[in-house]
Symmetry: C2
Subunit: 197 residues, 2 copies
């Protein structure tokens, strides 16, 4: 938990480095039992910039992953939008790389996420994180459906590529998947075209 965890005012901020990315402050209400938050509330968050287009195709998937300290997942850019959040007292270093063709290709954004933040990640932006707490529950909404046989069509960039300038913690000892070790360097990534997204 950050110093400033409880009772933030709900707010949305555009991330200049990566067009379409939005960082939300989420109010977390603490009491004798623990805490409660409206992690996503469509009616309140659309006016703050959450795109109505997220719901255009009426598709919805909610993914949850549980990871131990030092785990690093990413960087993955699938052809759907994501609304990312933390669902417990854990913390991650979130990292994103724009893989869309255009002026912002290769741009990076990083921030620490706890339960009081929500991040909107537009399709074509690679998503990843490293776990800073003992464990973390990472929960996100997406608007299209993953399938194993479509994986070759998804775009990836190697988390360890120094060209990204990402500051991971002790990246040599990070716990990662075999797949994530083998993703291409940024210089070898073919930028994603509008037609692919």
């Amino acid at each position: 938990m950050s110093d400033n965890f409880f009772e933030k005012a709900l707010a949305g901020r555009m991330i200049d480095a990566i067009p379409g990315m939005i960082e939300f402050d989420i109010p977390v209400h603490g009491d004798n039992r623990g805490w409660f938050k409206e992690n996503f509330q469509k009616e309140k968050m659309l006016p703050l910039g959450f795109p109505e287009s997220f719901f255009k195709e009426n598709k919805l998937q909610n993914n949850v992953s549980l990871s131990r300290k030092g785990v690093l997942r990413g960087l993955h850019a699938e052809p759907w939008d994501k609304y990312i959040s933390v669902a417990d007292n854990g913390r991650v270093l979130g990292s994103w790389v724009d893989l869309r063709e255009g002026a912002s290709f290769g741009h990076v954004y990083q921030t620490v996420i706890d339960a009081s933040k929500g991040i909107y990640v537009p399709r074509g932006v690679a998503n990843g994180f490293q776990v800073l707490s003992d464990t973390v529950s990472y929960s996100y909404l997406v608007n299209d459906y993953w399938a194993l046989d479509l994986k070759p069509k998804y775009a990836f960039v190697n988390y360890a590529d120094p060209a990204l300038g990402i500051e991971w913690d002790d990246v040599e000892n990070a716990e990662v998947s075999e797949a994530d070790k083998n993703h291409p360097l940024l210089k070898d990534v073919v930028p994603l075209t509008k037609a692919q997204l």
Copy 2:
């Protein structure tokens, strides 16, 4: 985590005691990093009985609460449907009481929920749980928007009412909210009519 936690086949079962309630088995995939699950996947879960009507009004809210061991929340029946789940390694004793007018008024269902289960709770059924693990992240989707000033219109029943026959653990020492202590006994609850829901 239950003995049978990983790699269940996705399945949905109707709960006979409470019409419209559905219990889902959720596949959880473990690896060197922790685990991953599709907690909700519309395309796969509609054919298993998840009601299409959940999405009828295009409203969506995702709530997350974090609770310590012994915390008991409930029992609350708001005028919206809920899809309930656990988002970490915790466990709760989920308990539901049908408050809708009709033959199933007062019917109770209880089951232990971990991350490998999802529960669909139709509007008018009171929802509650007690925390069995050190902490738990409890995450749910709803299809209408809570408001403080509408709270007098929501229906509640007292978790400690012996008439419910609910088997809580050490209920005298449960950590609850002031509001939850003061809800009516089942015999004093006015059954919810179709018009109210």
